[in-house]
């Protein structure tokens, strides 16, 4: 014991020079630099998206604003494809997230009651799907049978039960919500629905918020369901798909650029337009994030410490 504390003291003295803890300084510097490296691509997008054209074509490293020109954003919000897809994305994300939270949490709560006969089997059935999915063709046939192909709901309903978050929720309900509380509520006259919605859900706010954010981000970024199951109904394009097309599809880019000319702007550089689109695509989630942050942090650490 004595030897240990002597070693620790020696290490401290080596790290502490002139009143500085160089280890901490190094760690802090590393974290700051690493953080800046991670942040720079986003910063570049922000700067490039408002960079005046004359400055943009000079190229080089863009560290700070050299003037502000919001023509790309004006152009984006004057283009029907963009505005329509934003509405679709918001609707899709809100509905999918709400539905997914509802279905997944109710299912997870039910399955967490392992003492009920059959629940282990149902749990196994659900988890089985985590490892063995049906594949594209059976999935397509299923959606076709359900008349979901070509419909807005194909972007919402299939994700209602999220198996990954089902497992997280089931474990949370099993191990973190006290059974005594449920029994107390039952003695006070609460039925099963009351216990779930009035006792369990409020106690699980942190977890629900964290899972909700993840599901919302997944849905906001999802364009695969549109691409494979809708595709030719352009009025149902989500914003993520429009962004994807902006990056890969010359016709989309030409359409937007020509639209800019018709609004009286100089033909915009494609990359700057892309940057503005990226910002538009990330902004809604970035705005929502701070509001969920307190719950998110507590949700992430739930179950980390066992007593």
């Amino acid at each position: 014991m004595k030897k240990q504390s002597k070693n620790a003291g020696c290490r401290r003295s080596m790290l502490m020079v002139c009143g500085f803890n160089f280890y901490d300084v190094f760690v802090t510097l590393f974290c700051v630099i690493f953080g800046l490296i991670c942040f720079y691509p986003l910063w570049y997008c922000i700067v490039a998206s408002v960079m005046p054209y004359d400055e943009y074509i000079k190229g080089g490293l863009m560290l700070w604003f050299k003037g502000f020109d919001f023509q790309y954003y004006i152009q984006i919000f004057h283009t029907k494809v963009y505005t329509n897809s934003l509405v679709i994305s918001v609707l899709k994300t809100v509905l999918s997230t709400a539905l997914s939270l509802f279905v997944t949490s109710t299912m997870a709560y039910a399955v967490s009651k392992v003492h009920v006969r059959g629940m282990r089997f149902i749990n196994a059935l659900v988890v089985f799907n985590l490892f063995f999915a049906g594949g594209l063709v059976p999935t397509y046939l299923l959606y076709k049978g359900l008349h979901l192909i070509g419909s807005f709901w194909v972007m919402v309903l299939p994700g209602a039960l999220n198996i990954t978050y089902f497992i997280i929720m089931r474990n949370y309900f099993s191990f973190s919500v006290s059974r005594d509380l449920e029994e107390a509520a039952m003695i006070d006259g609460c039925n099963e629905f009351g216990i779930f919605f009035r006792i369990v859900m409020p106690l699980s706010r942190g977890m629900i918020a964290a899972v909700g954010l993840f599901i919302a981000v997944i849905n906001w970024n999802d364009y695969y369901s549109y691409m494979m199951f809708i595709s030719n109904k352009t009025n149902l394009q989500p914003f993520a798909w429009v962004l994807h097309r902006m990056l890969t599809d010359a016709s989309m880019m030409n359409q937007i650029r020509n639209g800019a000319v018709s609004l009286g702007f100089t033909l915009p550089p494609p990359m700057a337009l892309r940057m503005a689109t990226i910002i538009c695509a990330t902004l809604p989630i970035m705005i929502v994030y701070p509001f969920i942050q307190p719950y998110f942090t507590s949700g992430m650490t739930l179950g980390a410490v066992k007593e």
Partner: protein, 594 residues
């Protein structure tokens, strides 16, 4: 309470299971139709319709009016459906619907399009007429799985209803393709879309910024490899970037190869076919013809050294293999930073497109004289040889067996193939461009067709027969002549400046194109490599990308590491590929040369 909870849980579980199996419980009409019964249905339907439509009736629009109105979903890669108003007011679509008594539904996409088409096909939900990229294995697989309609049976049973298609599918060349793809010359399952340019097309020709050319080279356009290197290095020293050879994301060594290596009698790009990454010895069209992979030869090593020197001197864009977007290069060129850029300038229209996109769009006072079309370079007085068959299969169009009215879909195909249909698509009357309504007409059409560049590129149906979207005259020509010699009307609807640009490029290119382009015999269109070749080509391509970028960029010393490069090529099976290429060419020659 415990009982209630148990029931609730089981109910939820049952609901989930019911949802999972709902799709399987209902057998849809399309999925129940087996391939054979569908084919039988198709034939029966076509026979019935044929009976209704008497001889020589198909050309007469009134006869379609007596038929049932059907909805035809037509899919084509790379179009746009974003402009809902333009789509609704599309005059071409309206005319087709009126003439054929059908409703037309368009379907398109870029990323994921092929996967979706295939998924829809296998689930009985495919569009009534859809394309693939002409892959040999796909057509065989689709036929084997009974997914696509034998259109030959329907057409041959109704020659009066489908006169143009009857003529097309019974031509010797069409049958040769049937044999290639299906093993039976009389099995016609696809409409073959053949790509052919109206003028020779080849790479390896730069376009120069005239002002930089004047400043660092006294206005002289480089004509030899040495002159070109001198110019690029001088531009580099003057603070410009000498040359961007369009090697976007390490995918296009072709331009570098054609500009620098081929004139020196070698090819540095990864081999993929006869004439691509391979050099010919012997005489074309005879038993002596032999293609040799030269990527690792001593001559290629010398070329790579030249490129490394050029890079070091600032003559070659520092972003070689990194610059991943034409837009980046265009922006640099428009900003006056680049001395020369490659963009396949063998074809005159591409010079026009480049001028408009990279230069005129950012220069309000731009004139065609600002840019100069270069010429193919020589080495020791010799041009590089670019081998080209002039034509290639672009795509296959199929009618799926899930379509219950293939005869009506073929009515549409027949219409598009006819003079009337081609006139409609290209704004002609009997193959002559209608100058009286040119620009207005295309303005209306452009709204519905997406690209908005003032031309009818990517017009729906426009590459159903011609992969290059030009007018094909099946009335006065046989199939092969029509598709291999299409008519380019783009100059008719172009602006005066655009025409000036095309003419400028044409005048320059015509001076040397005959010395550079060697036309391969037509049996080269029938060369089919075995599937093992694809894996080797992919490996060699990766090796080329990895090594050449490092050699040129200076991360690897050419002399020290060249042996590793050669060994990597050998280990990946370069020799086997060379054998496969020569065997495939020999097979095509003996089977189809006659």
């Amino acid at each position: 309470m415990k009982k209630f909870r148990c029931v609730l849980c089981l109910l939820l579980a049952a609901l989930m299971l019911a949802a999972c199996f709902a799709g399987c419980s209902k057998k849809t009409a399309t999925s129940s139709a087996s391939a054979s019964s569908s084919a039988a249905q198709s034939t029966a339907a076509s026979t019935t319709s044929s009976a209704a439509a008497s001889s020589s009736a198909a050309a007469n629009p009134q006869d379609y009016a007596s038929m049932d109105t059907v909805n035809v979903r037509f899919a084509q890669f790379g179009n746009s459906l974003d402009d809902a108003d333009g789509y609704a007011n599309d005059p071409i679509r309206a005319q087709i619907q009126k003439d054929l008594n059908i409703t037309l539904e368009y379907d398109t996409g870029t990323d994921g399009f092929d996967d979706r088409m295939q998924t829809e096909l296998y689930t009985g939900a495919g569009p009534d007429l859809f394309p693939t990229w002409g892959e040999t294995d796909k057509i065989a697989k689709y036929i084997e799985d009974g997914l696509v309609t034998n259109i030959g049976e329907i057409i041959n049973a109704n020659p009066d209803r489908y006169p143009t298609l009857y003529k097309i599918i019974n031509s010797a060349e069409y049958k040769a393709y049937n044999k290639l793809y299906t093993g039976d010359e009389n099995s016609t399952y696809a409409i073959y879309s053949v790509a052919a340019f109206a003028e020779p097309s080849f790479g390896g020709v730069s376009v120069y910024n005239q002002s930089i050319l004047d400043q660092v080279n006294g206005g002289k356009v480089p004509a030899t490899i040495d002159e070109f290197m001198t110019y690029c290095e001088a531009a580099g020293k003057a603070g410009y970037v000498g040359w961007w050879p369009r090697n976007n994301k390490l995918t296009n060594w072709y331009e570098i190869d054609a500009e620098m290596a081929l004139p020196q009698g070698t090819s540095i790009q990864a081999p993929s076919a006869a004439g691509t990454g391979t050099i010919l010895s012997g005489e074309l069209g005879t038993d002596t013809e032999k293609w040799t992979i030269t990527a690792t030869s001593d001559a290629s090593k010398a070329v790579v050294k030249q490129l490394a020197e050029l890079y070091k001197a600032g003559g070659l864009d520092a972003n070689i293999g990194v610059k991943g977007d034409f837009d980046d290069a265009y922006a640099d060129f428009g900003a006056g930073k680049l001395g020369a850029v490659n963009f396949g300038f063998g074809y005159p229209g591409q010079f026009r497109d480049f001028y408009n996109a990279a230069w005129a769009s950012v220069k309000t006072d731009a004139t065609p004289d600002d840019l100069t079309v270069g010429q193919a370079l020589t080495s020791n007085g010799s041009y590089g040889q670019i081998y080209d068959s002039g034509t290639w299969i672009n795509s296959h169009y199929f009618i799926p067996t899930s379509c219950t009215y293939p005869d009506r879909v073929l009515d549409l195909v027949e219409y598009i193939a006819s003079s009337k249909g081609q006139d409609l698509l290209q704004n002609c009357t009997d193959g002559q461009f209608r100058a009286d309504q040119g620009s207005d007409y295309w303005k209306t059409v452009d709204g519905a067709y997406g690209y908005g560049d003032g031309r009818c590129k990517y017009c729906w149906f426009s590459y159903m027969f011609s992969g290059t979207e030009y007018y094909v005259d099946f009335t006065n020509n046989d199939w092969w002549t029509a598709v291999s010699h299409p008519t380019d009307f783009s100059s008719n609807w172009a602006t005066e400046t655009d025409n000036q640009l095309v003419q400028k490029a044409r005048d320059t290119v015509s001076a040397y194109s005959g010395k550079v382009v060697v036309t391969l015999p037509s049996y080269y269109n029938m060369v089919a490599l075995p599937s093992q070749a694809t894996d080797i080509i992919s490996k060699l391509s990766d090796i080329t990308n990895e090594y050449l970028a490092q050699f040129i960029g200076g991360q690897l010393d050419v002399d020290a590491s060249w042996a590793d490069y050669v060994k990597a090529y050998q280990d990946a099976g370069a020799a086997d590929l060379e054998t496969m290429i020569n065997e495939a060419v020999a097979t095509a020659r003996t089977s189809y040369a006659s």
